[in-house]
Structure formats: C-alpha cells, structure tokens
C-alpha cells in the first residue's frame, strides 16, 4: 500500500511541472536575468551591447563581483554577513605586490601568502562572531576598518607608498591570474569571435562557481550550511559543528576577496590600498537579486550567478543605451527592490508547492 503510493509520487515528480519549476529558488533570478538581458539587448543593440567586445565589458565587471558574491551568499544562507571584504580586496593585492616586488618572492608563493593573510582575517571574523554572538554585520564592519587601516599603515611602513607596482610576473602566471583572453576561430573574413577581451577573473569565476555549486548543492556540507541558517540550535543538536563551519565560511569569503584583489593587481600591474566600499554593496545586491534570503536558510549558487549577471548588465549596460548615465544607480535601486519583492512571492510559492494532490 505504502509502496504503490510512493511510486505514484515518483511518477509525478519525474515529469515536468510548473510547480517543481517554481520550487527551484533560482527561478526568480533566472527570469529576472532573461528580462534584463532582453531589455538591454534591445536598447543597447546599436551600441554593441551584444558584440563579444561589448559583452566582455559587463562580463568582466560581473566576474569580479561574482567571485566574492558566491561565498557572501553562503554566509547569508548560513545567516551571517561579511562586509570586511571591501578592505580584504586591496589587502590581497598589496600583499601579493609586496611579496613579489619588495621581497622578490615567487609569484605563486606570494599568492599563497596573500590567501593565508586573507584566511587569517576571515578566521578572526568567524572567531569573534561565533564566540561573542555579536551580529556579524557589526563585527565585519569593525574588521573592515581595522584591515583598511592596516593596509595603509603597513604598506607605508614597509614600502613607503600606498601604490605598489607589480611588473612582469611571467607569462604563465599572468595568463592564469590577470590577462585579457580572446578566442577567434578562422582567419580573415571568415573569422568568428567566440569571446574577446575576457579577463582571467571571468574564468576563475566560472571554475569557482562550479566548485561552490558542488559544495552547496551536491556535497553533504551544503546541507549543513542550509541547516545552520534555518535553525542554528537544531543544527547544532543534530551534530553539525556550526562554529567551525561558520569560521570556514568567513575564511572562504575573505580568500575570495583576496583572489579578486590579486587578479586586479596582476592585470593592472599595480596594487593600491584604496578600500573598495562599493564592492560591499555590490556583492550584497548580487546575492539578494540572486534569490538568497537575507534571514538565511534559503538560496542557490546558480541564483547568485544569475543575480551577478543581472547586476553586471544593469551596472554596465546603461553605457550601451541612450539613457542618461546618471540613472544608473536608480536602476540598481529599483532592480534590488523588485528582486526582494519577487523573492518573497517565489519563496511563498516554493513553500506551498507540492506535487502531491490534495486530498
């Protein structure tokens, strides 16, 4: 009796249904992306929004936000926030630049040191948040300024400047960390451009997103992250090491931020201590537009990627249209508002969605 019931359930589950589509949390983010993409494709057509070179403008921009947005999304699913990334990005760049320029270390050793420094900052963030139960917004706000201060002070003390140059790191390292890539098939008139002028950060983003997708949605760790954001006490009682996991997530977000700082430094051949306050908001916007719930327990990597693409298009796309560029921020604001409202209704649908027939 139970078995027949079960197989019936499986039957409906296997088929395509609108409900199961709504139940996917990234559905809203994907729909939003498609709308925004079509909108800008139409209005930006004449100004090359869709040409490989035009597309790389917003893709490159999106990739840097995206690398940080994914671990920020993890943290938000787990019920936390990290705004210290704004200072960890330049920290990642200057540590690498100083390791290579000042101490003549191998570039990859420099990368490791930079990641280690970022990991340490994340560790401190996580430690304070888990030990004191002070909201992570406040803790990371404090570390944002602490790290920003250290960036300026240490680089002045060690190198006497806040602008570090990072020259000639070798062709292979540059290829992987920070360069422009193009892929053109054919010759002369028959040449077809697959992509053009995409930065290394774009490819790092894609690989990182794939790894993070595996962690959150395929591996059992993902379940722990969701459980932690859903109900921390229950998660701990179920045997999940919530404190360790949280610290690891803070380390991941800091290391991702440092990675972005490093690719920027290698690409521009220079690293600066300027704190990237804008990036704090950009990452949070991408995550929220991507359908991650601010209160935790709900969200996807795919959604965050869609959210980041949408954000990248809106942020850069206005340059391809005839709209006044001053409207840029207004667009972002409206987008965020719509996204939050849509997420709410999508979540309600997801909760109610059931493939079983009501009896």
């Amino acid at each position: 009796m139970v078995d027949t019931h079960n197989s019936e359930g499986t039957g409906t589950r296997g088929g395509f249904s609108l409900l199961s589509l709504f139940r996917r949390p990234e559905a809203g983010a994907a729909a939003g992306f498609v709308l925004i993409f079509l909108f800008f494709s139409f209005f930006g057509w004449d100004k090359n929004f869709l040409t490989p070179l035009g597309a790389s403008t917003w893709l490159n921009f999106a990739s840097k936000v995206g690398i940080i947005a994914i671990p920020i999304g993890f943290l938000m699913i787990a019920g936390e926030l990290d705004i210290s990334v704004g200072a960890v990005i330049p920290a990642g760049g200057i540590v690498l630049a100083m390791a290579v320029g000042l101490y003549d270390l191998n570039i990859w050793l420099g990368v490791l040191i930079s990641l280690a420094v970022a990991g340490f900052i994340g560790f401190i963030n996580g430690l304070i948040v888990t030990r004191t139960r002070v909201p992570s917004l406040i803790v990371t706000l404090a570390t944002l300024f602490v790290v920003a201060g250290l960036n300026a002070y240490i680089s002045k003390q060690l190198a006497g400047t806040t602008q570090h140059s990072l020259q000639d790191v070798g062709p292979v390292s540059e290829f992987i960390l920070g360069d422009y890539h193009s892929w053109i098939i054919g010759e002369g008139d028959n040449a077809f451009t697959i992509f053009r002028s995409l930065q290394s950060s774009f490819f790092i983003w894609i690989v990182f997103a794939a790894v993070c997708f595996f962690i959150l949605h395929v591996s059992p760790w993902g379940n722990w992250i969701f459980a932690m954001g859903g109900d921390q006490d229950s998660a701990r009682n179920a045997g999940i090491p919530t404190n360790k996991l949280k610290i690891a997530l803070f380390m991941l977000s800091a290391m991702a931020a440092a990675m972005v700082g490093m690719t920027e430094a290698v690409l521009a051949n220079t690293a600066s201590t300027t704190t990237q306050f804008g990036m704090i908001f950009n990452t949070i916007i991408c995550v929220v537009v991507g359908g991650v719930l601010l209160t935790g327990g709900f969200g996807t990597v795919t959604g965050t990627v869609f959210g980041t693409l949408t954000f990248g298009i809106v942020f850069q796309g206005i340059n391809f249209t005839t709209f006044d560029k001053d409207l840029n921020l207004l667009f972002i604001g409206v987008l965020l508002l719509i996204a939050v409202l849509m997420n709410d209704s999508f979540r309600n649908m997801a909760t109610r969605a059931s493939t079983s027939k009501k009896k």
């Binding site: 139970v2 079960n6 589950r13 969701f226 859903g230 109900d231 701990r236 179920a238 909760t351």
Partner: protein
C-alpha cells in the same frame, strides 16, 4: 514491566540558578512502552526539567539514571547519543529545507568517495517519506517538498518519525499540541501512541489535560518546581488534575473571590441596567 529497570529515572534532582531553586527533589521514572505526562502551569519548571533531561543543564544535586546506571550529560549531544531525543513545539525542523534534506541533517546519506561525496537525495527522500508514512501520515509522499509547507501536525510527526528512525529510546515531546488545532492535535496524539507501541518511553509535556488523558499511562504534576502529584492512569479525574495543575486550593479561593466580587460589584450594576430597560 514494573520489575524491569526504568529506561530513565530521576532521583532527588534539584536544579538551582544561583540562589533561585527552580526544581527541588524531583523523583520520576519512565519505562519502555510507557507515556509519562508531565503537567504543569507556566513557570512550574517544566522547561527546566526537560533541559535537564536532554543535557542542556546539569542537575545541581541528585542523579539521572538510564537503565539503572547513573549518567552524566554535559551537552545535548551526550543525551542524544544515549537515545534521548527532544522534539520541540514547532518541530525543530528547517522550514525552507526539503523533507528529505531536513530529515538527514548531520547524518546525510552519501554516494561517491572522499571529497567527491555527494548527498544521496533519492535515498534520503525515500527513507524519510517511508518513515513518516509508517507513522500513518500518508499525505506526505514527496520528499522534495519543503518542510515549511507542511501543517503543524505533519511537522511534529516528521520530527517524531525522525527521532524514532535514528534510534531514540526516550522521546521528550515539549508541548507538541500547544499550537495545533483539534484535528492536528489528534494526529500527533495518534503518533505518540504509535511511538509507545513501538516500545519507546515517551515524556509528554503539556498543560492540556485532555491531551494528557488521551495518551498518558502515568502522570506527574509540577507546581513551583516540586512534584505535587505522581499517579497512574485512572487514579484521578480530569477535574482533579485541572485543580491540581492550577494549584488546587488557590483556585478555589480565587473562584470564591471572583464570585464574591460579582455579588458585591457587578450585581447592583446589573440590577440598575435591568431597571432602566
């Protein structure tokens, strides 16, 4: 059954927070296949007693025995490993996770190897749905459904099925019917009965006497941290239990007071209005 050692026993347990004694001299036993109803008004010490049983607090004095042997719980995990499982009022589940995922939180079934271990969604869904259906909740047939979409009673049932599936021997239910409607509550009571039939010891905390009488074998009433009564099924009527819970004589005095006020204050007013009519 009585000659067997009880699964869980409290001997002279006291719990104080600084100078405040919350529990004093509690003696309780619960056997396998028995439902112990713990009754008491708000602030009677019910929650403290549960938290002591499930390892959140350690008793200030006295002993906790399992199967006749003394045990010490320093954290909730210790109690869980001994087979004591607590289900809270709202089920302690994760509203935005699927049934299959939330069922296996912390003990995920996996496929694959090493760092490439994958969460086995199919197995998780099948086992969780079967576990709930075995408890008679046949409406749950889709493990991908989000827990938040279930009714309160279904969520409780899911949580109880989960505890039983993972080998609980003592099930502590903290006000499982408090937030539920009549029909949902009867669902949960049926599941409590089912758990009892499977040989679990159930500690059922409630302040609804009707629900307690429906499933209980053994009743204990807590008043201001003390065990005011400890009796078996059929030994006391519903009225007697309600009186006990509310503090017995206190209630009678209060009733008399209200009745007195009624005659002194309200009746003349009532007479006046009726005169005006």
């Amino acid at each position: 059954m009585a000659d067997q050692a009880p699964i869980l026993e409290l001997q002279n347990v006291d719990k104080s927070f600084g100078p405040i004694d919350v529990l004093s001299d509690i003696n309780l036993k619960v056997h396998a296949g028995e439902v112990l109803c713990l009754l008491g008004d708000n602030g009677a010490g019910k929650s403290t007693l549960i938290k002591t049983l499930c390892g959140v607090y350690t008793p200030t004095r006295g002993k906790i025995l399992m199967d006749g042997k003394e045990v010490h719980f320093t954290r909730p995990r210790d109690a869980q490993e001994m087979g004591i499982s607590t289900v809270h009022q709202f089920g302690g589940t994760f509203p935005l996770m699927s049934i299959g995922r939330s069922f296996f939180v912390g003990v995920e079934p996996t496929k694959g190897w090493g760092p490439f271990k994958r969460f086995d969604r199919k197995t998780a869904n099948e086992i969780s749905v079967k576990a709930v259906q075995d408890f008679g909740i046949t409406r749950i047939d889709d493990g991908d459904r989000l827990v938040g979409g279930l009714s309160g009673g279904e969520r409780q049932s899911l949580a109880i099925a989960r505890a039983v599936h993972f080998g609980a021997r003592v099930l502590i239910l903290d006000e499982p019917t408090a937030a539920l409607g009549v029909k949902q509550a009867s669902h949960v009571l049926r599941i409590v009965n089912e758990a009892k039939k499977r040989g679990l010891a159930v500690i059922f905390i409630t302040h609804q006497v009707m629900h307690a009488l429906a499933v209980g074998d053994h009743f204990a009433v807590l008043i201001r941290g003390k065990l005011a009564a400890n009796f078996m099924k059929g030994e006391k009527s519903r009225e007697e239990i309600t009186d006990l819970m509310a503090g017995g004589e206190d209630m009678a005095t209060l009733e008399a007071q209200i009745a007195g006020e009624d005659t002194e204050l309200h009746s003349p007013a009532h007479v006046r209005t009726s005169q005006q009519d």
